[in-house]
Amino acid sequence: MDPLLLGGLVALATILVLFSGVSVAVGLLIVSAGFLIVFDGMRSLELMPEIFFGKLDNFALLSIPMFIIMGASIASTRAGADLYEALERWLTRVPGGLVVSNLGACALFAAMSGSSPATCAAIGKMGIPEMRKRGYPDGVAAGSIAAGGTLGILIPPSVTMIVYGIATETSIGRLFLAGVIPGLLLVALFMAWSLYSTWRSGNTALLSAGSYSWRERVEILPRVLPFLAIILGVLYAMYGGVATPSETAAVGALLCLLIAMVIYRLWNPRDIWVVLRDSTKESVMILFIIAAAGVFSYMLSSLFITQSIAEWIGTLDVNRWVLMGAINVFLLIAGFFLPPVAVILMAAPILLPIITTAGFDPIWFAVVLTINMEIGLISPPVGLNLYVINGIAPDISLRTILTGSLPFVACMVLAIVLLCLFPGLATWLPNAVMGPGL
């Protein structure tokens, strides 16, 4: 059978299986097994556990649970509240203080956590009730946190960047740096929108919430120091020759656990277990998808589908920006239904040859891809951040959260457009720090 037609069949089967409600990882195994049996023979089933094991046999994957533990341990303390309060005290003169400080706290927290739901939960627990109390509309309160939380995978460290780095064999250190400026850009866009919408709502009282004395502002600083220590420590370890990025993650996890225990008195074994349980749950979920997607990509490669699609796109005579647009629409649709890790792993082997042939930088593309995946995190039916918001504020309807986060989605699309116009936003920092790329 023609590999392209076969590819279409695989796509159809995958959609059908995943929509049946089976878990994503098991669904990928089912589709892989089905096509392998039909086109490669029964014996190829023997290989599946071996390939599954092999996909996990990679030291860089260690950093996934580690960066999740970092976020989870800090999120389980009142550290998120401290961070948020400190920013509020300092940003009070800035118009729109509360929502701006929430977004700032999300950005800072994102620099300590590799996952988006953790970022969302840590800041949202404190931020959403506080914003609602002060009269912000539910949509703005929920939407800003849902969107701010997605920064967790753009601002380093980032689980999706690690997975992309492994799937495409690009430097994880470089990918992390590439996310910094676009991350800050998105924060700025988010803040600008929040200010504008608050101002437009006419409730100008919100724009100058409270005022704090200098004493109150200085007082809270020591409580923010542990964060800065962790961020600086991790950066030093990663770029200062102490350890490789994957190893650094373990140092970060240990530092965060220690700070949570010593400074925030997270002594109770039950509380520590909650941190470990949540981290284990999220890590195992992601790693299961990674290994299953590995079996899936083996099937695609073995049936020559990956190679044929890349070849076929290469023969199409289309403008590279049209191609980039089409790829983004495809990713966006995939992101509606699948978690970022699954999209990256299923798409990377097919997309990477296309990207490089069309003359796009894989590091730059990682950033575009990540922002695209952030949109998927706040869109139904599978949007991890939506579930988190729903858990924090069950009385805000899904519709309100969605309409509240829609403008932020527009900001993300704008950021992708800006990245296309000015690729240097992503590539300048890694090149400046680590020299011109490979």
């Binding site: 929509f19 049946s20 409600g21 089976v22 878990s23 994503v24 990882a25 098991v26 669904g27 195994l29 089912i30 097994a33 089933l45 023997e46 290989l47 599946m48 556990p49 071996e50 599954f52 094991f53 996990l56 046999d57 990679n58 030291f59 994957l61 260690l62 649970p65 580690m66 533990i69 739901p117 370890a237 102490v242 190893e247 993650a249 373990a250 140092v251 240990l254 277990w273 470990l276 349980r277 981290s279 284990t280 749950k281 890590s283 195992v284 979920m285 790693l287 299961f288 998808i289 290994a291 239904f337 699954a342 139904p380 039916p381 599978v382 991890l384 939506l386 579930y387 988190v388 858990g391």
Partner: protein, 181 residues
């Protein structure tokens, strides 16, 4: 939307379901312990290399095996916590009976594929054990030890999936963990 929700598979009073739940929870503890051990070993490796300038020959490999084992052994626990992401658009939209039917079908097919992974995982483990394979490093551990995670992890996941199927068949739990519409 049940994904990542706090819902846990319900066991009710059924002895089999409770036993499986206990085993899965124990597996979850082991998984978490292995992740923590991996953190500790990695930090020890950085200390030995960066501070003591010593050799680090076994750590990377040990950490990788621990992570693989943590993932596989953690599967049943995460299944019990309903932590494996799914798209429940169609199940939500279906009526009560159709939803039940779909749940039975998806669970049965899941059980089948996990049984395949368990069986060939066991075979692969046995192959390595029988032939005395080691890893090709200076440390050179016997490979049947890390490979053991394959039959163990998939075997335990199989057990939890069977328990999930039994639970919805006897009515101890709802299909897809969804509230009745």
């Amino acid at each position: 939307m049940t994904v990542q929700s706090a819902a846990v598979a319900h066991a009710g009073k059924n002895l089999f379901l409770r036993a499986v739940a206990a085993v899965s929870t124990l597996a979850g503890w082991c998984s978490a312990a292995m992740i923590v051990t991996a953190v500790a070993i990695t930090c020890q490796m950085i200390f030995v290399r960066f501070v003591l300038n010593g050799s680090t020959v076994w750590q990377t490999e040990a950490v990788v095996y621990l992570m693989i084992a943590a993932t596989l052994i953690g599967l049943p626990y995460v299944q019990r916590l309903r932590g494996h992401v799914n798209v429940d658009l169609v199940p939500l939209w279906l009526g009560r009976r159709a939803r039940m039917g779909l749940a039975v079908v998806t669970l049965s097919v899941s059980i089948l594929i996990v049984a395949v992974m368990f069986w060939y995982g066991f075979e692969f483990w046995h192959f390595a054990w029988d032939r005395g394979w080691r890893s090709d490093t200076v440390w050179g551990p016997k490979l049947w030890i890390p490979y053991l995670a394959l039959p163990l992890g998939f075997g335990l996941l199989l057990l939890q999936l069977v328990a999930d199927l039994v639970a919805i068949l006897i009515g101890a739990d709802r299909p897809f963990g969804l509230e009745d519409a």
